[in-house]
């Protein structure tokens, strides 16, 4: 970070902010996966965990939507694409608002980690086709379903025409990922500024609001020298709860009320980076590698 080329965002923004509601469906009876059990609390079905998440699609999404609309947020919805099939109302609400749809797999209970190379290849075809069929959008990026991946994932994503991957938590700026084709870049997402880990623990809404504000203030200050990315990861079943929704209002008032913020989608961030900074970042990475190789 200390020695990198400088990133400049449109209109000299200091922070590129993307807002990512995770619109998900967890299956009532998911297929058995030897590596990962989505519902360990009891034998399946686990109606409590299922219902908690189902609340998001019945109630929480709609309460959050009102607040996002009031703030004119163009979201990048991290979407289990089967949402378009199970819940056309939600699909339409997202498409009507011209939200960018980022693939979050098909279901949150079907993991990439157990797929063969061929199965994973077919998975991308399914994702691309499903999104195009329901919205006309070209799929540009992915957050792995329930953040699952394989070692082949970046190459196969790139082969399927995707340009960004959100599973890399390693930076505050987009970073080129080495793939066969490309370009493929990481757009920083967050498992810290994310309502799931925060509210899985003891934190309350106030804590989350303070975290988000502090994160923003630091990135905004640092962004004076080189642009930063901030992701706000949300889940309707958590943030759409009646006792949390005011926190979202406070967060959006704060972030969008500041100067020098570019409220963008993940692909806008990715494309701007690819068009303006990709080459110099690759060159820089090669210089750094050469230093390592020489030592």
């Amino acid at each position: 970070m200390a020695d990198r080329p400088t990133i400049s965002w449109p209109n000299d923004a200091k922070v590129a902010l993307w807002v990512a509601p995770n619109v998900e469906h967890y299956e009532y009876l998911p297929p058995r996966d030897a590596l990962r059990n989505p519902w360990p609390r009891s034998p399946h079905p686990e109606v409590q965990g299922y219902s908690h998440r189902d609340y998001g699609n019945r109630v929480g999404f709609w309460r959050m939507l009102d607040v996002l609309d009031e703030h004119n947020v163009r979201c990048t919805a991290s979407t289990n694409l089967a949402i378009f099939e199970h819940y056309p109302d939600i699909g339409k609400a997202m498409a009507d608002r011209n939200w960018e749809i980022m693939s979050h797999g098909i279901y949150n209970t079907r993991y990439l980690s157990s797929l063969t190379e061929q199965e994973e290849r077919e998975f991308y075809v399914d994702c691309v086709d499903t999104l195009r069929r329901h919205t006309g959008q070209k799929l540009k990026g992915m957050l792995g379903p329930a953040v699952s991946n394989t070692i082949r994932t970046p190459d196969l994503m790139s082969e399927a025409g995707l340009i960004y991957h959100a599973d890399w938590l390693h930076d505050d700026q987009p970073i080129p990922i080495k793939v066969e084709g490309g370009p493929l870049i990481s757009v920083p997402y967050s498992i810290e500024l994310n309502d799931v880990p925060v509210f899985l623990q003891h934190h309350d809404t106030k804590d989350f609001v303070e975290m988000v504000k502090a994160q923003f203030d630091t990135l905004h200050e640092e962004g004076k020298t080189s642009g930063r990315v901030m992701a706000l990861a949300l889940h309707p079943y958590l943030m759409g709860m009646p006792h949390r929704i005011e926190g979202l209002e406070e967060i959006l008032d704060y972030l969008l009320g500041r100067d020098d913020v570019w409220q963008a989608t993940a692909s806008q961030i990715a494309e701007h980076f690819i068009d303006h900074h990709y080459e110099e970042f690759v060159d820089h990475a090669e210089v750094i590698s050469a230093v390592r190789d020489a030592s």
Binding site: H25, E27, Y28, L29, P30, P31, P40, R41, S42, P43, H44, P45, E46, V47, Q48, Y50, S51, H52, D54, Y55, N57, R58, V59, F61, W62, R63, A82, E85, H86, Y87, P88, D89, I90, I106, Y107, R110, F199, L200, Q201, H202, D204, T205, M241, P242, H243, I245, E246
Partner: protein, 313 residues
């Protein structure tokens, strides 16, 4: 004979609606406005759980692997966990009922079969205080899961309801499965057993109709996030946080309930919230909630009856 495999596709079929047949998808804003008696915006209920963990459960019974209470998971018999839970039946429940009564909130109490048999004095006491009793299985250490045969599940449900009917003279109209765990068949078996409403599905702010092939059943969702065990035990939220969460949730539901009424079912465990240091937080939060105008404090059955009237006339 009902063919369950045909009804519950596995894995999910990618078509419109839910991936099971227990209810339809219903986004809240698309529903006709729900109206409570006297146009009150928010129904407030409290489900108190009298759940018994057996010292020597049947060897083939299934328990939650992370059952709450106690200190660390000890080899059986876990005196710490078992007696921690028993505190609720001996002490906590009275403190909890007093607090609810003080705020004018009539309690709905889930009573499992072992509790009904081993604590007859307590059951009489609940009846004298006007509590509504709902079925709660046989014991918390015998949860209902899809590993049970249909016959075994029918027997648990029937046994639990029959026992409560025998000791109270009235058959319960409501049901909450032990630890909130169900099999794929539970909703229809409850409907077949004559149960009117079930609290196992915490997915909404309004009751809704379930679609079982064996009879009519209403889902009365609990509010999982303010459930004392979920918030205080599993999430380890502070008491101050829990208290403000309850108040914030009720205030917002009260506001949103002006356009379409809502309900809020608190889930309270006597062994947990009935502890002397915790009861004060509940007391303070209820004081604040009950100051909101037009709170309808009610038992489960009354809320469900009002829902039926609002929907079906």
């Amino acid at each position: 004979m009902l063919k369950l495999s045909a009804r519950c596709a596995m894995p999910a079929e990618r078509s419109s609606g839910m991936d099971h047949s227990h209810y339809s998808y219903s986004p809240l804003p698309t529903r006709a406005p729900l109206v409570w008696p006297e146009n009150k915006p928010l129904a407030l209920g409290a489900l108190v759980l009298l759940e018994h963990y057996e010292w020597e459960p049947p060897t083939d019974a299934y328990s939650l692997r992370n059952a709450s209470g106690g200190l660390i998971k000890l080899p059986a018999p876990d005196y710490v966990q078992l007696t921690h839970r028993e505190y609720g039946h001996r002490v906590g429940v009275f403190r909890l009922l007093d607090t609810l009564e003080h705020h004018g909130i009539p309690a709905t109490v889930a009573v499992d079969k072992v509790t009904a048999i081993h604590y007859p004095w307590l059951v009489d006491h609940l009846m004298q205080r006007g509590c509504e009793l709902v079925g709660h299985g046989v014991a918390a250490s015998q949860i209902i899961t899809s590993k049970l045969s249909k016959e075994a599940e029918v027997e648990i449900i029937g046994n639990s309801l029959d026992t409560l009917e025998k000791v109270t003279g009235a058959r319960p109209s409501g049901w909450f499965s032990p630890e909130g765990v169900e099999s794929q068949r539970t909703p229809e078996l409850l409907a077949a057993a004559g149960v009117s409403y079930v609290c196992d599905w915490p997915n909404d702010e309004q009751p809704y109709k379930m679609t079982t092939p064996l009879g009519d059943l209403i889902s009365l969702p609990l509010f999982l996030e303010v459930d004392d065990e979920f918030a205080l035990w599993h999430r380890r939220a502070s008491l101050a946080s829990w208290e403000s969460m309850i108040v914030a949730a009720a205030s917002r539901l009260h506001l949103d309930g002006q356009t379409s009424a809502r309900h809020m079912m608190l889930t309270l465990r006597p062994w947990l919230t009935g502890q002397p240091f915790r009861i004060r937080s509940l007391d303070r939060s209820l004081s604040q909630i009950m100051q909101l105008e037009g709170i309808w404090a009610a038992q489960g059955n009354a809320i469900v009856q009002a829902f039926r009237e609002s929907q079906f006339g």
